[in-house]
Symmetry: C2
Amino acid sequence: MSKIPNRILLTENELPKQWYNMMADMPERPDPYINPQTMKPASVEDLYPVFAEELCKQEFATEQYIDIPEEIQEKYKMYRPSSLHRAYALEKALQTPAKIYYKYEGSNTSGSHKLNSAIAQAYYNKQQGITHLTTETGAGQWGTALSMACAFYDLPLKVYMVKISAEQKPYRKAVIETYGGTVIPSPSNTTNAGRAILAKDPNCTGSLGTAISEAIEVAVSTPNTRYVLGSVLNQVVLHQSIIGIEAKMQMEKIGEYPDIIIGCAGGGSNLGGLISEYMHDRLTGKKKPYFIAAEPAACPSLSRGKYAYDFCDTGHVTPLARMYTLGSGFIPSSIHSGGLRYHGMSPIISKLYHDGFLDEARALYQNEVFDAATFFAKTESILPAPESAHAIAAAIQEAKKCKETGESKTILFGLTGNGAYDLAAYMNYHSGKMEDYAPTDEELEKGFATLPKIPGIQE
Amino acid sequence: MSKIPNRILLTENELPKQWYNMMADMPERPDPYINPQTMKPASVEDLYPVFAEELCKQEFATEQYIDIPEEIQEKYKMYRPSSLHRAYALEKALQTPAKIYYKYEGSNTSGSHKLNSAIAQAYYNKQQGITHLTTETGAGQWGTALSMACAFYDLPLKVYMVKISAEQKPYRKAVIETYGGTVIPSPSNTTNAGRAILAKDPNCTGSLGTAISEAIEVAVSTPNTRYVLGSVLNQVVLHQSIIGIEAKMQMEKIGEYPDIIIGCAGGGSNLGGLISEYMHDRLTGKKKPYFIAAEPAACPSLSRGKYAYDFCDTGHVTPLARMYTLGSGFIPSSIHSGGLRYHGMSPIISKLYHDGFLDEARALYQNEVFDAATFFAKTESILPAPESAHAIAAAIQEAKKCKETGESKTILFGLTGNGAYDLAAYMNYHSGKMEDYAPTDEELEKGFATLPKIPGIQE
């Protein structure tokens, strides 16, 4: 066979026409969502005021494959199929016998995989006749992706952006505005939730919890308006399955099957998307690749969290999900620069981990993560997003093990995004003042103390 | 024939193995460089103290094709061949019968086409045993590309960055440092040129001219050190020919030949690269595509400049070239946000324009350019670099003409880079305070007054 190319490409005719739904093959499914008003299991209709109906249905869907509407396929074709890369330069620099591959999702303007779900969510809302969307954004990756998707479907979008982020990241605001989104620093005086907080503290710099509360308040109180979310939910994991379906096709083209699959994990959308059809092989007993979730030591929801019912937001307005969580009151230290700061984890990913199908959650310290990011940039040329660099760091660890043992394992990891908008974190790293940090057991206990009590379910 | 895809891809086996040299087919070549010390035509050896020898030879080369060394091909394969895009969404939004294509060079981390020449220049320096490189950067695009290339070849790099730029664009500095480059705000106390300026004005915020002088001083006074430049030179146009060679292959794959080819033009490296093999067709009489150089009204070197000998830098240390120029003393107004601020133009491009092979130089006002950039982003999804948006604006003008006449012309333009690092310019545009500007005739005369007198050649 001729040499495997640096980039394994697919034509747009090969773009997957269906998403894969891991729920179909799981021996046990995640526990049901709980309605925060009734504290009873939520029905699909309970979610209608917040999300588009088709997306609510996807939240509960158990079909193995779900058609990707042609209009979404057309939008995907502007930047997909994405490339799979053989990391020849990285392998050489590491002097490892391992074969390293990565699936690169950062070549679109939003800079990350988030666009895959943003397009789908904007489309289904448009189809239903929804005329306005709201969302929140912290670092800005999701707000950017959604503003692009809303431009494609001519949907006005309000992005509640954590005030301190909006001030510190004016460029993120500028991209969102270029695509037509409106950025509202949160807390704002446009909602009851925002006004209440400002009344107490006019100088409040905001939090993701407050931003979610504002975005949902506007969605449920404005005609024809809905809220959208960029991670955690089952629908998002479903949309992101296109990453793994493509990756598997690309690996098959060159006759490869990964021994180890590594994804970074914050809310779980990328990891869930990357493993998708490989997890199908595992769940159905065909193959047994080894799955690693790479997460920050500063926010170790899988490796040190509890599998419990929790709110998806710190504002406590969303349904409760059973997931690995540090407690919605857990706030990662501000000295952590690497992203992936979410307190919980996708219910699907959580269940797979709980039941032993996801093999390992590996917590990484940020200096090792940025060492890996810089080493990767210098060898493979792409500047990775700090989130993605968690997966790189874990892949390098595995490749070094191969060097020791002489094994030529095949490693696949997800490179979820590029770091063009994350240079403040790199500057922090270059300054030499980046500190490694992991919460103490006491700090974790404080977070767990914020877990909700649910009569008859979680006392 | 089946529908033309959104993205026309090439495999890495199809990566061009030779650069194309327009000099070979030009009925008359550009006038020779002049040595600024002797004011006589420069020999290839005159350039050796400044540039690597192989690059000096390329500066004078007249062969039609020059082999791309395999080691350079290997580096190119990490991000090339680049994709050619059919702008379906843009066409639809414009309701034009024109078919619009663009060659996208912005998907690598440096964000632009500059990497194509940076890799080649770093390689040839490394081959010669050069151990250190110097360069200057203004906005930072070239400094970023070169720092990446130097990382590949393990070559220490000093980037003299205009001080005000280094202060205003800390993220650019951070990328360059991530790839191992050293950024020195210019003027600095590391050179005689810098110290002399600081002695006069300790608060001097710097200029490109000063930065070039510092970079060249270090190169010629330090053992095994050379200087590299990202545009204007013949060698750079040669390296960038890979853009046009690929684009022509891609267009041929789908049975298309462009009626109109549009490139943005600052120093001319992108335009020269994009037109390359299409210009071959024109020069050899095979075909007659219509070539448009899109430039800013604020810095209209081709459309309002003089075809004359001038210094390539404002510091007057480089060889003199005959080119279209506004005079090395011309400084574009600070209200201009769109890049492409160079006072001159590649000698090859200048000669082609002077002799009527490059058909038109079109000067565009910046509000129209940013209108086009935003319209393009919302339809085609990619956020363009402001430089590239000059070509987009001209392409939209041509597509609108087609709508009026009903003609279905085929338009190809170069999308040289993405705008991820240019959001300050977009913010200026969003503020509604962006002013259109073109120099008055009087302002141009002041620039022309700085043209050098060369005994017997230019009095």
